[in-house]
Symmetry: D2
Subunit: 90 residues, 4 copies
Amino acid sequence: MSSHKEQVQQRLRTIEGHVRGIYRMVEQDSYCIDVLMQMDAVQKALDQVGRMVMDQHLHGCVTTAIRSDDAVERERVIGELMQVFSERRK
Amino acid sequence: MSSHKEQVQQRLRTIEGHVRGIYRMVEQDSYCIDVLMQMDAVQKALDQVGRMVMDQHLHGCVTTAIRSDDAVERERVIGELMQVFSERRK
Amino acid sequence: MSSHKEQVQQRLRTIEGHVRGIYRMVEQDSYCIDVLMQMDAVQKALDQVGRMVMDQHLHGCVTTAIRSDDAVERERVIGELMQVFSERRK
Amino acid sequence: MSSHKEQVQQRLRTIEGHVRGIYRMVEQDSYCIDVLMQMDAVQKALDQVGRMVMDQHLHGCVTTAIRSDDAVERERVIGELMQVFSERRK
């Protein structure tokens, strides 16, 4: 599991650097459309990390909770999934 | 569960009528922005029905599959969830 | 311009039929994931029609308004563009 | 306009710090859902900066280009707007 965590961390480092690069683009009065395109690239990179985290969550916590006999816990993880699923579709 | 199904169907009927209404707006040369706003409303209505279907899916098929002893089946439902989760986040 | 209008209308007719098809899928208790995938396809088709309408809007009303000497009108069309641009990114 | 630029830069700095915070959350094995929620918050913050940049772009470059007599230039800015408009609606 450590390798997965490291991959997520590495990607977050890259995203952080990417945001810093956009800061510099703005500082140097880069063309607005180029700034917007780079911001879209960051959004897509975040989506990708999100998928990695979600994949691990489904295989880990969600599987454990749903296989348990604790109905409240099962309901809790499903409620959380619904929340994440809904978040950017408002 | 029938009441859930009926609710989903009723909303889909409403969405169908909404799309027909947009067709008429275009026919009558309505203002582009008004057309776009109505199309966004339809998208949001579809998001809402999507959440209802997903909620039922998590409580039904997903819970059953993950609680089963069939590892292949568990992997299948998780893979499907990842696909839906990723679909509009590319 | 009529051909553009007809194309938009034709696509809206197709989308309406697609929604009706999803209604029938639900009626026949189709698999939730298949229903969700079809709903995603409808949303993408709506996005496409939205792009066609937006393209015409930019070439028509927006260009006319911004080229006019009416500063209030120019501000109005830009405000509307911002509203549409923001709509599904909340 | 400098104040607008400073606001955009300030927000990008905040976003950069936010991403660094998520890195630390992952490092400390925070709960996946909490990580995903923070990532959604970053994406919303990026959307907001995107709106600020777009607003300036419409009032600046787009207005200048569309008011010019250079038809090729007008077409170019409209094409760019369509590209940004389409980017996250595929």
